[in-house]
């Protein structure tokens, strides 16, 4: 009983603290693997089995969705993982039979990945990844000046298409008025009134998604070329 109480208090802590959530998930890896094995019929390996990654995501979803009225946490998490794995398996089946690169190209022969020519420039790709990682690190640091983390930004991203479109209109509007971006950098605050007036989006919507808008607009200030290029296709239309 007290163990269940302890788990519930850990879950409550993990809901709001990503680091606590990471620690909690690491601690319950055995449980997650066992539940995945029940579904796949084999012991999953970290970094290799996609099902384990899906089960871990489902476990994290359970942390976010859990409340005491749903019964014991581990039973709730097990159900959640199972239904997620079923969904994933169905989606994979719809996509058709996938062949692993690790499978042998011929019986008893070399692995498939060793037989297929890599058209990508591995060196250039690695350099690109490295510079992206560096820029994202700087971006995260910059966000922390505003008291934000990337997890906060993801949590604050609008889910509904209509709201998402409204936010995109706000971003387009800010891009068209660089003085607003400068004001953001200077004051470390979203110029709500000006953005609302210029974009025609309700101030309430802006306030509700303030952290998301702030992060994306920050990416459009100087110094974040790779992220900006990645967001190059961002337009004011639908998703």
């Amino acid at each position: 009983m007290s163990e269940e109480h302890q788990i519930v208090s850990r879950v409550r802590e993990a809901k709001s603290d990503p680091a606590a959530a990471d620690g909690f998930i690491r601690e319950y890896m055995g449980f997650i693997k066992a539940e995945t094995a029940k579904f796949t019929g084999r012991v999953p390996q970290e970094g290799r089995d996609d099902e384990l990654s899906v089960a871990m995501l489902a476990f994290y979803e359970s942390i976010l969705a859990y409340d005491a009225s749903r019964g014991p946490f581990l039973r709730f998490a097990a159900l959640s993982m199972r239904s997620r794995l079923i969904d994933y398996a169905r989606a994979e089946n719809r996509r058709g039979a996938a062949v692993s690169y690790d499978e042998p190209a011929e019986e008893g022969g070399t692995a498939l990945k060793d037989c297929i020519a890599d058209e990508n420039d591995a060196v250039a790709g690695a350099a690109d990844r490295l510079s992206a990682r560096k820029e994202i690190g700087e971006f995260s640091l910059r966000l922390s000046d505003f008291g934000l983390t990337l997890s906060d930004v993801a949590d604050n991203c609008p889910r509904q298409e209509r709201t998402f479109s409204a936010c995109r209109r706000v971003i387009e509007c800010a891009k068209a008025h660089p003085e607003l971006l400068k004001e953001l950098e200077k004051t470390k605050k979203l110029p709500m009134a000006a953005l609302s007036e210029l974009s025609g989006v309700e101030r309430k919507t802006l306030e509700r998604h303030r952290r998301y808008l702030l992060a994306i607009l920050l990416a459009y200030t100087n110094g974040f070329e790779i992220i900006r290029r990645h967001l190059g296709q961002l337009k004011g239309g639908t998703r």
């Binding site: 990503p18 959530a21 990471d22 998930i25 690491r26 970094g47 290799r48 996609d50 990654s53 899906v54 871990m56 995501l57 476990f59 994290y60 979803e61 976010l64 969705a65 994933y88 690109d128 990844r129 490295l130 510079s131 992206a132 990682r133 994202i136 690190g137 971006f139 995260s140 983390t149 990337l150 997890s151 930004v153 993801a154 949590d155 991203c157 889910r159 998402f164 936010c167 995109r168 971003i171 998301y212 992060a215 994306i216 790779i226 992220i227 990645h230 967001l231 190059g232 296709q233 961002l234 998703r239």
Partner: protein
């Protein structure tokens, strides 16, 4: 669509889509800076005010309304029975299940004059009836030697019996300085149930059979001089009737006429009740459409 991996955690990665969407997705061994084509995005946690919670709140509100309506409003503020007082003024007293007067209606001009300005709401029906009788006396409607007919009516016979007993008890004092005969009966009954002879020297309660015998005895004592010993009673005048029918025939303009009057009263009673049901329907509509204000009214009335 291509996603840029922004942050990684054991269970998920934060990815940024080309459309600007920032999401948490399953981490299939991603590293920060990777670009991925397909993701398994996280499902948003259900909103706190989900359907179940909304339904629970609605069910609780409906239960509260039912408790207020059936536990408080209906027994206290809706007519459950009535007492008709006939002197010459004819008054219908509508009474709730908890014996509170909810409505007074004058059935003739004198009745309307009698209840004008009379404060009755929420008071017990026996007290209201006694006070109306005194009022009728002071306004000159009830004279010495006069009679008062009280007819109790309800679908609940137990409630009717209790109401009749309470009326009999409160009428026991009669009217000061006058001799009055009070007939208590149930609606639809052929003859009164109880007769109270209230006078200056005190009052006495009889069953109707006793009262008939008493009147017959008095008539015999008075001889054939045509004394009006039984004048003050509505039904009996001279010879002791053997049956209610014989008694009715003897009386001429007495109980049969009164019985016809009772028929009229039933009609008016049913009309009055149908109007009360209409009023009730409107008040329930108002309760739901009026929202807090109507509930506030009920709570105010309770207070």
């Amino acid at each position: 669509m291509e996603y840029l991996v922004m942050e990684t955690h054991p269970a998920y990665a934060v990815v940024l889509g080309e459309d600007g969407a920032c999401l948490k997705a399953a981490n299939f061994g991603y590293q920060v800076g990777d670009r991925v084509g397909e993701i398994v995005a996280i499902k948003p946690a259900p909103a706190k005010t989900g359907l179940r919670k909304t339904l629970a709140v609605l069910a609780a509100a409906a239960a509260c309304l039912c408790i207020i309506f059936f536990g408080v409003y209906q027994p206290n503020y809706m007519g459950y029975g009535s007492v008709r007082m006939t002197i010459n003024p004819d008054v219908l007293i509508s009474v709730s299940r908890t014996d509170r007067v909810v409505k007074l209606k004058g059935l003739n001009d004198d009745g309307r004059a009698l209840i004008k300005g009379f404060d009755y709401k929420g008071r017990p029906e026996d007290a209201v009836a006694a006070e109306l009788m005194s009022r009728a006396s002071s306004l000159g409607y009830l004279k010495d030697g006069g009679s008062v007919k009280l007819t109790v009516s309800s679908r609940d016979s137990g409630w009717s019996a209790d109401a009749k007993d309470a009326l009999a008890e409160s009428m026991d004092g009669g009217v000061s300085g006058k001799s009055v005969t009070i007939y208590l009966s149930y609606a639809g009954a052929a003859e009164p149930d109880t007769v109270i002879a209230a006078g200056t020297g005190g009052s006495k309660t009889y069953t109707y059979a006793q009262w008939q015998a008493l009147q017959a005895q008095k008539a015999a004592q008075a001889g054939q001089s045509g004394s009006n010993a039984g004048q003050q009673t509505a039904p009996a005048q001279s010879a002791a009737p053997q049956t209610p029918e014989q008694w009715g025939q003897q009386q001429g303009d007495s109980w049969e006429t009164w019985g016809e009057g009772q028929g009229d009263s039933w009609e008016s009673w049913s009309k009055q009740y149908s109007s009360e049901w209409e009023d009730f329907g409107k008040s329930v509509d108002g309760l739901f459409s009026g929202g807090k204000s109507s509930i506030g009214n009920i709570i105010g009335r309770l207070g």
